[in-house]
Amino acid sequence: MSVDLSRFHGVFFEESYEAVNTIETGFLDIDVDNVDPEEINTIFRAAHSIKGGSATFGFTQVAEFTHVMENLLDQIREGKRGLNQDIVDVLLGSVDGLRAMLASAKSNEQLDQEEFAAFIGPLDALLDSNDGPKPTPTVSVTAAETDPSGVTPEVSEDEAAANGETPVGWRIVFTPHKEMMQRGNDPLRLIRELAELGPCEVESDASLIPEWEHFEPLNSYISWTIRLNKYAPRTSIEEIFSWVEDECDLAIVPVLPEVSAPEAAASNDAAAESVMRGQQNVATPVPAGRTEAENSSPAEASPSPAEKVTKAKPKASSAPAESQSIRVDLLKVDSLINMVGELVITQSMLNMLSEDEDLQGNERLQQGLLQLHRQTRALQEGVMQIRMLPISFCFNRFPRMVRDLSRQLSKDIELVMSGENTEVDKTVIEKITDPLVHLVRNSVDHGIETLDERRAAGKSENGTVYLRAYHQVGNIIIEVEDDGKGMDPDALTAKAKRKGLITEDAILTDAQALDLVFLPGFSTKEEASDLSGRGVGMDVVKRNVQALGGSIVLESELGQGTRFTIRLPLTLAIMDGQLVAIEDEVYVVPLVSIIESLQPYQDMVNKVVGLQETIKLRGQYLPVLRLAEALQAPGADYQKPLTEGIVVVVEHENRRFGLFVDDLLSQQQIVIKTLDDNYRPVPGVSGATILGDGRVALILDVGGLAQLQNQADMNYADAG
């Protein structure tokens, strides 16, 4: 029978990445001056576990690497080697190495020798350095096919050569100690195994069985003399007895060709004599495992492990509850979500049909439909939940990153995270990670001042970066905040003018000045640094966030700090939408963006020639974008008076404007189909959906419309 090991690879990689994370967090949390042995133990166990699995599943590079890591960790664990930040740095570097090796192993590849050497080099150097003991001889970690005994057959050839002749068989005198069976070893099993090597003659000696009253049924009293009438390597016999070598007296005596006859007929005395010889024979020349075991086990090895066990025990009480999970291909989940989406559409179609007059009276049908509605919603929510992951999947990388960066910059920065368990769609997590990395880097690099600057400003030396996540009505909010130097609106404005990003006479509010940061080609630091680059990122960050249907807001107080607030939808697959109509066409406005909808009176409408239309709402002038015109809707009246339609007031990044449409229809949950995949990106449109009656409706992108509105504004401004 043969088992295909690749079926376990998925689980192996999953748990190995977890173990790598354990190692990483372990070292990040560690206090080098006051090391908790249990912390080191946990790290050791994680490395050990990766080593065991990788060796079994044939990932030799990972196995070799973790073996060296394990040696180093073992020395630390045993207290033979101290710990300092430099060693922690090397070990954290090896975490990166492990990740790289796992990643290439996953695609059935290996790192090339140079890369591998670059990762393992520092570890080897540490192991070889003087402040620790010499490393234990490297056990070559071999692939799974290797003989488990680890003894090569050559040994027996040597032995045969030394004896001058090849034995024709063996005589084995086997006397179990009394307790042998009490460790689960059955003498009969061993004899049966011997018989597999060749024909055996077995003689048992029952003379030591005591009188009944002294008979202890748990003990073994019988000894055996087994004559194996066929040559087999000595090692294969030793291997059979390897588990019980310390639980029995064993003599393995070669039977040589010419002496075989007298030997076979030998008296008991002669046998005993040869047993004695055999014993000595066993003790001296046999190399490897046996002698090593005898030498080391009673002397030095046993006290220390025993100590380890007792030390480890009282602390190991807090076992993390094992979460039950299964691995499912994401494609399966997505096709399930898609089907549920179709179901939702069918359900809303039935709902529409049921509004038919003839059916209104059918109470049981109506009740059934209502139930279907509720159950479909529950099903949809449940299915969407499958794709949800805690944001910690993204946050996990930051403690390490902040630590490394602040060491590099010689700053003292603490990262405070909250809401790591806030759940959000997997795709959102994947796409928001890079922008967040950029923001956190910016905070550490540009936001937080140097130690001197902080002292001079009368602040505490250690800066803090906060990373928070929480839910707010259908959205996840992620904040990146620092208590650094903040941004100066005047400086930002001046710089934007210098770079020609805004006109020389522009007058900006503070909020508008801060928004300049998001303009392409703007950088807050004159000099580009290694870490954050030339500030090419912020416009990209904003674009990425908007691509996810989210928004980003920057607040900053000079001298106090800076805060980026990112608002993202929890999922990209469904949303609550407001259906609006222009002529016969139906469009969807995301409900989260809508503040209110109204039909303006004549005296609210302001139309100044050359300027964009506005309405005056509660004392404030609100620009209005004619949706029909913006989308070039066919057959629509672009000049229709505002009083004859509806203005939907929407908000985008703290800016409000009105969307002028013909009519408001119903609100409903819609399933988003991307336009990019099925058609091509269209400005002002974020996707499409299928309505209950089977028609396709475009979903409006309020951010994109805001830009259209802005351009319209500027066009008017330029014209005027």
Binding site: M1, G53, A144, P148, R183, G184, L218, S296
Partner: protein, 120 residues
Amino acid sequence: MAKILAVDDSASMRQMVSFTLKGAGHQVDEASNGQEALTKAKGDRYDLIITDVNMPVMDGITFIRNLRAESAYKFTPMLMLTTESGADKKAEGKAAGATGWIVKPFNPDQLVATIKKVLG
């Protein structure tokens, strides 16, 4: 067919052992650390125990020592799965009552063959 308890904190190793032995016709239960295994073993009757050594909460050797003290498990074969080819772990395990060991890495065929021998 024997009833076997496979103990390992690594899910991949545990599944590998379990899958292999089930394929060889045995009934296999799993536990992810010594403590869990001890509870399971006491509440049931297994013909063979296979346990990892290095595990959180309770390591394999402590588990073997505790289980061997149970009268129902006096003679039950208990095997350690160990990467530590060094003699100290083996000796420590033997002293705690282990029957023998299987050295990682091993392949499924080796595992099945060893189990077959132990079970007779």
